[in-house]
Amino acid sequence: MTTLAPAEATTVARPQRELTYAEAIREALRQEMRRDPRVFLIGEDIGVYGGAFGVTGDLVHEFGKDRVRDTPIAEEVIAGLAVGAAITGMRPVAEIQFSDFVTLATEQIVNQAAKMRFMFGGKIAVPMVVRLPGGSGTGAAAQHSQSLEAWFAHIPGLKVVLPATPSDAKGLLVAAIRDPNPVMVFEHKLLYRTRGVVPEELYTEDLKAIVRRTGRDLTLVAYSVMVIRALEAAEQLAAEGIDVEVVDVRCLRPLDEATIVGSARRTGRVLVVHEAVRSGGFGGEIVARIVESEAFDFLDAPVRRLAGRETPIPYNRTLERSAVPQVEDIVAAARALVRE
């Protein structure tokens, strides 16, 4: 974590202050908007409504409708507005109401934002952020529950960030806003109400993986909500005498291979866990990086994946739960892997 000297006076930090993940995002937006007049928000129902998940909340009352700007339902234009503003001196933060609707904005993000700097010979920068609430678990069914991060991790020119904790939600978002490149920040709908300690001052987190828990027997590599489930699984496994390390990837592109490979080398057993569908999911990339690395010689078992089933997300609660890894699934898979 890098603490930054803020332009304005801040209150004395109470280190134990807790916020929800949603509040932490709002605080990042508020503090960055106060600090930098170029930062503005754009999206559907982010103003008076406060955002579909209440993330932008009251920001419109502090910053007004120009800087917390509601648009008609027009995702391609939302992304395009961000691109156009970013290349001409602004720092837009766009909200795509549910990450699924990024399918309508992909042209501007993938063909335009991601490629401009390179195509134009490095003559331009696209400092924009797209915030995308994703994931399942809320009964929102097939078109409102997807985990599409791997699509964007496939695109050179984009950065792809997935915070798992409230303090990362703030620090990674501030880093994304200050990044001179287009950054896709996938938030998880189930995390919005989770609480954690969040520093009051402005700070950035590096777009790098971190070890959330150290252990000797096995590494769980996860991101987003699966980090929380992996940590819970690690607790349960500890009671059985299995000592689990948990690596939170945090950023898929650029990927911090060193942290992942280092952990794999130490424990010799790796289970990669994500919610996104297994085939073509980012876990395949992580596994490949590990087996291609010097960690290969230290592996005691095949590197394994636990991921979403090969299906759209169903509506029924029991089906929905069964479609993506739960804590008990992680525990079972980890236990089996340790015995291999």
Partner: protein
Amino acid sequence: MEPSLTPERLRSALQQMMRIRAFEEMAEQLYMRGLVHGTMHLSIGQEASAVGAVLALEPQDYILSTHRGHGHCIAKGADLGRMMAEFMGRETGYCRGRGGSMHIADVDGGNLGANGIVAGGLPIAVGVGLSMQLQSLPRVCLTFFGDGAANEGAFHEALNVAAIWRLPVVFFCENNNYAMSMAVRDAFPTELISQRAAAYNLPGVTVDGNDLHAVYAAAAEAVARARSGHGPTLIEARTYRWRGHSKSDRNLYRTQQEIAEWKERDPITRLRARLIADGVLGAAEADAMLAAVHEEIAAAVAFAEASPEPDPAALEDEVYA
């Protein structure tokens, strides 16, 4: 009165509107009681637009629906028990519990599905229209969408293609004044959404969406035009949703007074009064009709509650044909 609106059809239209209202009220109750997972979008206040539009269709015609689709589905003749079962995520539901409130499809009944993607149905409607044209089938596809959907690129692409190929499509916009919190007055540079039809050289009409007769008349003309090979029409039905957009809505963008004013224009009260005045129906008969509808809804809930949950082991079965 339209000649084809026989007393019998009018009575049945009123009953369909009552069914929609009662279904939505029950859906809301079930949600409040924690019996339903997820969210829902209620169409209370918009019953005349759903029923009036579908009244102009033949049974073999198609509709495409939206996230606010319970009313369209009922209007097209869906079984209330299977709808309720879907809403409650049961195996006996229209989508075997996989789709839920936002994705109810009654394919055999010509409802090609509700859609969770705003404007997602418009391009599909154009495809259905093309398919009818290619197969020389005299069927029409009516696609419902909201005012908000008219600002997606898909709306413009769909209208243009349907117009140049004269496809048998009716674009039926339910303008309920809001797309979530975005007011129509802030989202459109024009007074009427139907003005957009001019850009694609097709007829555009705006009607009182809370007046069943007006909706029917506009839809009947559009359907006849589509069926006879003269291409699409854009209909804008002006209406209002009484409830919040979904369960997360705190109604911060509109006033209680505005909501109350629109409740004065209740499409069901209006049609009931008109049918009684026209001698189509007696007051006692109307009351009995409503009582019968409530019994149907209760039976639908009982059917859903007695139905089994889907089996997680079969989850991947329906991914491919």
